[in-house]
């Protein structure tokens, strides 16, 4: 069901799936992603179905870390300001001479706890899934838990327990406790039996969902990156 995404990306000589492609893969494996539309370069944005606040993100093979080039605008109140952001981004791409595939306009997740779910295909152990607390926790403190796939429900719960920052998920410092079942479900969708990493072992090399925002009503994969596995011959 996702094979066309990988086939097309490889045919286009890509080594990384663009954000919409990565999110289609996530959605196919049962992860929730924000509602959004892709605005083709120069096309009129059809944003009627989306409710603000919105985010606009540049889709360019030359800017896989899009925020580095100013390719991300957040907190756009309505369709009109999102449309304006789309036009600005098109201008930005021209100015920086970046190839532009389009602009992704998405609903923003309600505020919540930011987590990171990652995956890598280890040369020895095969697919390995990682859970981390987002932002500084993962980057500076390396607060992560790894498991070999496939994981089960107990593994997923133990991964949450293992984070030093786990109390932050459970209501420390006056926060509202998050619904851990949503984190477990996301971990199983990525690293469980029949999950993304196990099923796509030959297609992908690395996966990053950063952030997965877990709020009261949802757990949304707000940004995602999938690095394709190297292949001897494309489309094999």
């Amino acid at each position: 069901m996702t094979s066309d995404i990988f086939f097309n990306a490889r045919r286009a000589g890509r080594t990384v799936l663009d954000e919409p492609g990565a999110k289609r893969v996530l959605a196919a494996y049962g992860l929730s992603v924000p509602r959004g539309v892709i605005v083709a370069p120069g096309a009129r944005p059809e944003l009627d179905g989306l409710s603000g606040p919105l985010a606009a993100k540049m889709i360019s093979p030359d800017a896989s870390h899009k925020s580095d080039v100013g390719g991300v605008r957040l907190g756009l109140a309505d369709a009109a300001s999102a449309t304006a952001a789309v036009r600005e981004m098109e201008a930005l791409a021209r100015a920086l001479e970046l190839r532009l595939d389009g602009v992704l306009v998405e609903e923003m997740s309600p505020a919540g706890v930011e987590l990171v779910i990652g995956g890598v295909i280890d040369a020895r152990f095969g697919p390995v899934v990682m859970l981390g607390l987002g932002g500084v926790f993962v980057e500076i403190f390396g607060d992560t838990a790894f498991r070999v796939c496939p994981i089960d429900r107990i593994d997923a719960r133990e991964m949450i327990d293992e984070l030093r920052g786990a109390p932050l998920l459970r209501g420390a410092r006056g926060r509202k406790p998050v619904d851990e079942a949503r984190i477990v479900a996301a971990l199983l969708a990525v690293g469980g039996e029949g999950g993304l990493l196990v099923e796509l072992e030959g297609e992908i090399a690395e996966l990053d969902i950063n952030p997965l925002i877990v709020s009261e009503g949802s757990a949304l994969a707000c940004d995602a990156r999938i690095v394709l596995a190297e292949r001897k011959t494309a489309g094999e």
């Binding site: 152990f125 498991r147 070999v148 593994d155 133990e158």
Partner: protein
């Protein structure tokens, strides 16, 4: 599972054992293998293979595998590396398992191509190869050994090691600590038979109770994970992991010819399978000894420990060591404290936990006081584990030698443990100053106690490491059986 027991059985219980590379005049590793196996009482057929010698080690020689006249269960090959692929090719249809002890393969840059040739020769010949770059197999029940000085006594600890030299340490030092092996295989570069397959064997082997693995690089990591995952804690497994730091990995690269996997992945795998990971030889042996002697609690993981013995500072440091390993040394419930108080022990005795009883307290009633204290701790203290520690030289050097207080103390420990079976783990720490008199007594006590199912450790830190390993496995069992 019993499939694996039959499939790999010839490695441990060969009926026909061939040696390639033994000398008619000198003492090569091949000769060592013959001599040590005969000393162990090997009672199958032992055939040296040699192109010209008439006899080797007094045994009739065959010129080739073909000349043996029957299938060789296990061939020990110790010839120059370049010759090995041809020897393996000549084993086609005639040899089940061949252990290649020769070095000069993938562990050195110029041997990589030769290792590939060896692997191809093995596949082509249909011979399962163990090694190369290893030392041998130690199998007390099969009565074979690649080293001298081992007890040869059969036990319940199965070991797989990717380093041969460390295998020697594990056998000799381990046996001195009371470990007894069901088998030990040195795997070296693991060009064919890998750790996962031998884990399957030891899981299926009815004589094996605990499995120990020294791992630098598990090439078949996926299969290794799957086997352990499917076992679901059927037997405890302890992994001594090498190459977990950058410099350790570099050493491992020159050692087994490949890189070790990340520490984070191993930590995750441990949680998923209940495998206890340790990082020193001593800790490895200490945890194995605990699993050899103690029966894991399946529903109530070990947490609450009662420590009892002489030495105030020792008790404090021990409480710290246990705390660092996640083991609780907390005051006992009041019925226990009341009962201990009622014994009227001399001042200077602390009865809360740790129970710190100076030597003059332990001398009370010629040492039999220990039995009453331990009785109370077990009956009313609700411990998951009790550790009794004795500083041997304090008693050995005492001016009062009218009675064998030490003997009485250790006897008390054994009697109490027998009286409360299955209730709490019981471990003994016998602390020595290294003087011959202390060492001798410790050796005697250790042999006796371990035989009766009490692990004996040198220091409280060793006991803490060992019980932490047991607790980790028990926590896995409890989480998965809920």
């Amino acid at each position: 599972m019993s499939d694996a027991y039959a499939r790999y059985g010839p490695i441990f219980r060969p009926r026909v054992l061939a040696i390639v590379g033994a000398s008619a005049s000198g003492v090569t590793p091949g000769n060592e293998f013959i001599r040590h196996s005969r000393a162990m009482g090997f009672d199958g057929r032992l055939v040296p293979i040699h192109p010209s010698a008439a006899t080797i080690e007094g045994l009739p020689v065959a010129r080739s595998f073909a000349e043996v006249g029957e299938t060789v269960d296990f061939a020990y090959i110790a010839v120059a590396a370049q010759r090995v692929p041809d020897v393996i090719a000549s084993a086609a249809g005639r040899v089940r398992f061949a252990q290649v002890m020769s070095s000069g393969f993938g562990e050195v840059a110029q041997g990589r191509a030769l290792e590939t040739r060896l692997a191809e020769a093995a596949r082509g010949a249909g011979v399962r190869v163990i090694g190369p770059n290893c030392l041998g197999v130690y199998s007390p029940r099969g009565r074979m050994s690649f080293i001298g000085g081992a007890t040869g006594e059969a036990g319940s600890v199965g070991v797989i090691t990717q380093s041969g030299g460390l295998g020697v340490d594990i056998i000799l030092r381990g046996e001195r600590r009371g470990l007894r092996y069901s088998g030990l295989v040195t795997l070296g570069n693991s060009v064919d038979v890998g750790p996962a397959e031998l884990v399957e064997y030891f899981l299926a082997d009815p004589d094996t109770r605990v499995i120990g693995i020294y791992a630098e690089d598990i090439k078949d990591g996926r299969a290794f994970f799957r086997v352990l995952r499917e076992a679901r804690g059927a037997k405890p497994v302890v992994v001594l992991l090498g190459g977990q730091t950058r410099q350790g990995r570099l050493a491992a690269a020159s050692h087994t010819g490949s890189l070790a996997s990340g520490a984070e992945i191993w930590r995750g795998l441990a949680r998923q399978t209940g495998v206890a990971i340790v990082c020193s030889l001593d800790e490895f042996l200490d945890v194995l000894l605990a699993f050899q002697t103690l029966v894991p609690h399946r529903r109530r993981p070990t947490r609450r420990c009662v420590l009892f013995g002489n030495g105030g500072g020792t008790s404090v440091l021990a409480a710290d060591a246990f705390g660092r390993r996640g083991l609780e040394v907390a005051p006992m419930p009041s019925p226990a404290i009341d009962a201990l108080a009622a014994l009227g022990l001399p001042p200077g005795t602390s009865i809360v936990n740790p129970i710190d009883a100076p030597a003059y307290t332990l001398r009370h009633d010629e040492g039999r006081i220990a039995e009453r204290i331990l009785d109370i701790a077990l009956q009313h203290g609700e411990p998951d584990a009790v550790v009794m520690h004795i500083n041997l030289p304090v008693f050995i050097g005492s001016a009062d030698q009218r009675v064998d207080v030490l003997g009485n103390l250790v006897d008390a420990a054994m009697r109490v443990r027998a009286k409360h079976p299955g209730q709490a783990h019981f471990a003994l720490v016998l602390r020595s100053d290294g003087a011959e008199a202390s060492e001798r007594r410790r050796r005697d006590f250790r042999n006796n106690a371990v035989r009766q199912g009490i692990p004996v450790y040198d220091e409280m830190t060793n006991a803490a490491d060992a019980l932490a390993g047991v607790a980790f496995f028990e926590a896995y069992l409890a989480a998965r059986s809920a």
